[in-house]
């Protein structure tokens, strides 16, 4: 089963990642008005992200890209606004027709989210990223999601195989799957953990974008955040960034106030892990009562812990505190 069959509201990590994405867009909005942008994404059957983008930023030029007929028909049924358009089209077709789509939608700039949930054909996905990077213009925003679970590399650990040998095999697999996007300096095989694999994926995504930009030397891509989260089945990697004219970068940094955000990083080396602890509502209320205190102080006041090791327990608490404002509330509703 892949993560795409689980609704958002059952995936708190993904929910938080999406909230952060909206925060990034809010920062970009301080620099340039996003209201007239075209927002295009693979919204899935519920079109959640398109709804969220409209409600938080007021973007009305919304476009969903979907190639599966069944999902497309459900989208058309679930479509919440008349101004949300659904296209039955593959991502590859969308990318090759991007200029026409922009003209049809009368948009000068766009935000595109390529949400590649499947681990199949990573090279094809990266080739698409490269192509779209060559087509996006200054001030356009790109978000991509790629599967970063090492278990999707198609190598199972054999019974008598040492972890060392297994990791060597995984590294070879990763090399074959990523082809020209694999790092030139081959990482040590001991980095073939899920977090190490996310670094390799990040390198591949960067390489794809830079290859795409080779023909437009006056435009650069500024990463604004790279995240890694587990959606219940797989580790996913996301990257959001903006294409800028080189001379605009300083102005962008200043006016978008990105330095104020704890979650925005323009450093390619930083991949932030989102791993929320599973908490009951009562536990959360207890923590929230003292949320202005230091994590260790909050922890000391709690009548329960999260781990037999006190340090690890505080670490878990910190992961909650980091995102407590974004932690989703799930309640049963009766219609």
């Amino acid at each position: 089963m892949s993560g795409q069959d689980v609704p958002y509201y059952l995936r708190p990590n993904k929910h938080v990642e999406r909230q952060i994405f909206l925060e990034i867009l809010t920062h970009i909005n301080r620099w340039t008005n996003l209201t007239d942008y075209l927002y295009a994404s693979m919204g899935g059957k519920y079109l959640e992200d398109l709804k969220a983008v409209y409600s938080s930023l007021g973007i009305k030029n919304l476009l969903s890209i979907e190639c599966n007929r069944v999902t497309y028909e459900r989208q058309m049924f679930n479509r919440p606004f008349s101004f949300l358009d659904c296209l039955k089209i593959t991502t590859g077709e969308f990318i090759s027709q991007l200029d026409n789509v922009m003209e049809d939608k009368k948009a000068k700039n766009c935000i595109v989210w390529l949400d590649y949930a499947s681990a199949k054909n990573r090279q094809g996905q990266l080739q698409e990223v490269e192509t779209i990077a060559s087509k996006l213009a200054a001030n356009d925003v790109l978000k991509i999601t790629l599967n970063a679970s090492r278990k999707t590399l198609g190598a199972d650990k054999e019974e008598n195989e040492s972890e060392d040998d297994f990791q060597k095999r995984l590294l070879e697999k990763a090399k074959a799957k990523l082809g020209a996007y694999f790092p030139g300096h081959i990482p040590n095989h001991s980095r073939m953990t899920d977090s190490g694999f996310a670094e390799i994926i990040s390198h591949a995504a960067k390489a794809a974008i830079l290859k795409g930009l080779a023909g437009s030397q006056n435009i650069s891509f500024l990463p604004l955040g790279q995240y890694r989260y587990n959606d219940g089945f797989h580790w996913m990697y996301t990257l959001t960034g903006i294409f800028l004219k080189r001379e605009d970068e300083d102005d962008f940094r200043r006016r978008s106030d990105i330095a104020d955000s704890d979650f925005i990083s323009t450093d390619w080396q930083v991949i932030t892990e989102i791993a929320l602890p599973d908490l009951s509502i009562r536990e959360r209320i207890e923590i929230d009562l003292n949320i202005n205190l230091r994590p260790d102080e909050i922890h000391a006041k709690l009548p329960f812990g999260f781990d037999s090791d006190p340090d690890r327990s505080v670490e878990t608490l910190k992961r909650y505190i980091k995102h407590y404002k974004r932690y989703p509330n799930f309640v049963r509703a009766v219609f």
Partner: protein, 472 residues
């Protein structure tokens, strides 16, 4: 009235020289030229005495590349002062016999200058030559490049700027496009450079030479071929040919680098041809690769009875090595990234490259559709570097070659499929929804390969037909 002939100015224009020279070469190749100079420096010190397994051990080249400068610093002996004064900075070499008796690859005396001009407007060469007391510095600045002056100043210095005998070349005021490529946040050029050095310098790095880029060592990616080294249990071995032609020592090894590709792999490969693909021919001249994994007619694909390269041949790899101290006899072009296919050495060996290649394309074709049956043969073979295989195979296994005196070849006897009830491939297409319906019915799930669904349907029907026959 005497008729004094007027003088016509036939001096080369520096501006023309600089712009023409640099257009003929890619940035990567220009950097490789500088590395070649380092290796040639080592060769001059070793004087062809390469008995050790790692003769280049202890020698290094450290490359620094960022948007502000390029630097290459080596400890490979430095430039002798008299050579620096007489020829090292000259455009082109007067004396092609300069390195007679040494296995170098520098031929035309153009590499360093071309690289300097290619990258930037200001450069400095500092060298501390072996067996000399003083270091020297030569600087090239933007004004010199614009002028018609052809001489440069060489300044001696007592300071030990360089800790070892060697050379440090620094290029600043980089051209915009070069700075762009060196900037890690603008271009993935550095990745590409690392990959190229790995491939083209594999043998040199394997011999002990250390190359770093921005402090990170570059490991070689040597080509290996599968071999059983004559063990009789499994006969997967490469084809080998060795000869000496025109004072060039030549060796050819072609074979399998991996097991045959399965059908699903081939399907994926057709969709996304891997650029890092390691199939094809690699040609090496004096340790330096000049062609890496070539799949074109130049190396015999699609020539005579050999088929053109196709993804089904992804497992085949070959290495041709030329070694000579007569540089001009090597099949090397000026950028060292291509072959001089008219060279006698190359023309003579070409027939044996295709002869070897054909053995493995034939094997692949014969086993088409039954690739899995060959896995056992491959499991017993281990990857080895061509040189190791060459020295390990006993002389008695080699046969002589009629057309070339002294040449020897080893032809492996690869397994042949049995022809009793041969396998035939069935290929057909059906609507995706129908395949899913069958997959759910047969395997309780939709995520089964269409091939497996088709196969299961065939097997079930066959079983049914056979059992009916028995019951009748």
């Amino acid at each position: 009235m005497t008729n004094t002939p007027a003088k016509v100015d036939a001096h080369p224009s520096k501006r023309f020289f600089v712009s023409m020279l640099t257009r003929d070469i890619e940035l990567k190749d220009a950097i490789l030229d500088l590395l070649d100079n380092c290796v040639d420096g080592i060769e001059r010190q070793l004087h062809s005495e390469e008995s050790k397994e790692k003769p280049y051990s202890g020698f290094w080249a450290k490359i620094t590349a960022n948007k502000d400068k390029f630097e290459i610093w080596d400890n490979c002996g430095g430039i002798p002062t008299d050579i620096a004064i007489k020829s090292a900075f000259k455009m082109g070499r007067d004396d092609p016999e300069k390195d007679a008796g040494i296995h170098t690859v520098g031929m035309y005396g153009i590499g360093m200058k071309r690289a300097l001009f290619k990258m930037g407007k200001k450069s400095r060469v500092v060298s501390r030559p072996k067996n000399e007391e003083k270091s020297f510095t030569v600087e090239i600045n933007p004004e010199w490049l614009e002028s018609n002056e052809w001489e440069l100043e060489l300044n001696h210095t007592d300071d030990e700027i360089l800790t070892e005998n060697g050379t440090k070349i620094t290029i600043e005021e980089l051209h915009d496009n070069i700075a762009f490529q060196f900037d890690e946040n603008s271009s993935d050029f550095q990745d590409d450079l690392v990959r190229t050095i790995k491939q083209f310098y594999a043998l040199i790095i394997d011999k002990g030479f250390e190359v770093t880029l921005n402090g990170i060592p570059i490991e070689g990616a040597p080509i290996t071929l599968l071999t059983t080294l004559q063990s009789t249990s499994s006969p997967i071995d490469p084809f080998i040919f060795k000869a000496q032609i025109d004072d060039v020592d030549i060796s050819v090894a072609v074979g399998f680098r991996r097991r045959l590709a399965s059908e699903s792999e081939l399907e994926e490969e057709t969709k996304n041809p891997r650029t890092s693909d390691e199939a094809g021919w690699t040609v090496i001249c004096n340790d330096r690769a000049v062609l890496y994994c070539d799949k074109s007619q130049i190396t015999g694909w699609g020539r005579a009875t050999v088929p053109r390269y196709h993804t089904q041949f992804i497992s085949i790899s070959g290495v041709v090595e030329f070694r000579s101290n007569k540089l001009m006899n090597l099949p090397l072009n000026t950028t060292k990234r291509g072959l001089d296919t008219s060279s006698k050495a190359y023309l003579s060996v070409f027939d044996y490259m295709t002869e070897g290649l054909k053995i493995f394309t034939d094997f692949t074709n014969k086993w088409k559709g039954r690739e899995e049956e060959t896995n056992d043969f491959f499991n017993n073979a281990t990857p080895k570097k061509p040189r190791e295989i060459l020295s390990a195979i006993e002389n008695s296994k080699f046969s002589s070659v009629r057309k070339i005196e002294g040449a020897k070849k080893y032809t492996p006897q690869l397994p042949v499929p049995e022809e009793k009830n041969p396998l035939r491939r069935i290929v057909f297409t059906r609507p995706s929804e129908d395949i899913t319906t069958l997959a759910i019915a047969l395997f309780d799930g939709s995520k089964v390969k269409p091939t497996d669904v088709g196969q299961r349907c065939f097997d079930l029907k066959l079983e049914e037909v056979k059992s009916k026959r028995i019951s009748k």
